[in-house]
Symmetry: C2
């Protein structure tokens, strides 16, 4: 006897977050589907149904590389999304059925997240896929519950960064200005910060090291670059 | 066409951790199965296959209440366990098939964890189930990959508590001695702490409030009780 609970499919979805100096961005891939005889175009997270016998972590790594070309990204499992409502849109069901060649019942997805430097080159291995960075605060409606997954990933980033701010430097370029760092704090914590106070606090941190280099080719006064020193940071905490 | 990936079952498992003043304990339920015509007895985490149409969080709460009687426990999803190897023991497969009346292929379980005060009464709603506290460092081989799930939950507790030690007080009795608190730090962080140093640090924390009350009926010198003040703790952090 098979019970209803047997009709479950499992997928992984990767929320890769980057920061362009002003805004938090998420890596999405374009999707083309057909609904009611009409082609439609939208976007989704890089993700896929898992392959038979595949470990979850391996599936997440495989899918991200296949769809975006990114390798050696520190993907972390952060939440499973399994609401029965997440596959209620017929466009999503039909797209899954067409691409995966299977009937779709309930689909549970394991959400992975990663923080990367946005300068990394993005290029999918699979023909016809296109990956692109999209600002988190300007997302259109995405496939499935992917808007919700991204919102949860940003919430998780906020929670973790409030406990361990050093993780934010994974998002920063190797050299950054005070303004860029303040922008990141503002977008992650969702609050305006006083520039003068932020500067005063920041330069007191021994792990934020000033460089001799300054911005080039800017209209305003060229700002100094800084770098994050992980070793010094670790010594400031017990 | 159904692909292999369709044959997946989904369950939830709850790792409820408590602290008895000396050791970290986990709430398990007894399991009786039959293998090769012989009855066997072992233990497992409170868990179950999810019901059709049920939200994951609801499933975790339902299962914990049914099997242990615990209600209003702050369960948090912490990790999905989906290795193809986790259901390779025939005893587990046959037990699942007998109790769930279904064929068992790959089973992915969503792990939930909770920290509770160990004094709470434990009593399952379902006939024939028995829940009990077992020290985490004295676990026998458990059903499925439940030893691994518990190890991961303890690791998660350690990571989170190193960032936010206030969460540890969910495990402590409302009033506690310095020794009990030091014991908890030792078991969570897996390191011996010097009693004199620990005491000196602890009494400096404004959120650890001394009470007038002392231990009763102990052979050694009766130790003072303290309580954790969450409001004061929150004010010590920005």
């Amino acid at each position: 006897m098979e019970t209803e609970s047997a009709k479950i499919h499992l997928s992984v979805d990767c929320t890769v977050l980057g920061f362009d100096g002003e805004r938090l961005e998420v890596l999405l891939i374009r999707r083309t589907g057909v609904e009611g005889g009409e082609e439609f175009h939208d976007m989704k997270l890089p993700g896929s149904v898992i392959v038979d016998g595949e470990e979850l972590d391996d599936a997440a790594r495989r899918v991200l590389t296949e769809l975006t070309g990114l390798k050696n990204v520190p993907l972390t499992q952060f939440h499973a999304f399994g609401s029965p409502d997440r596959t209620k849109d017929p466009r999503d069901i039909h797209w899954l059925e067409a691409t995966q060649q299977m009937h779709v019942g309930r689909t549970v997805t394991i959400g992975y997240m990663a923080l990367v430097k946005i300068g990394r080159s993005i290029m999918g291995d699979m023909e016809g896929t296109e990956a692109l960075w999209v600002p988190v605060d300007k997302l259109p409606p995405l496939a499935f519950d992917h808007n919700q997954i991204i919102a949860e990933a940003v919430k998780m980033l906020r929670t973790l960064a409030s406990m361990d701010p050093s993780m934010l430097y994974a998002l920063m370029p190797r050299k950054f200005t005070v303004t860029q760092l303040r922008n990141l704090y503002e977008v992650v914590f969702g609050a305006r910060l006083d520039p003068a106070n932020f500067y005063k606090k920041m330069v007191q941190m021994p792990y934020i090291v000033p460089l001799e280099e300054r911005e080039k080719g800017v209209a305003h006064r060229a700002a100094r670059y800084y770098r994050f020193d992980k070793n010094t940071y670790n010594k400031t905490r017990i």
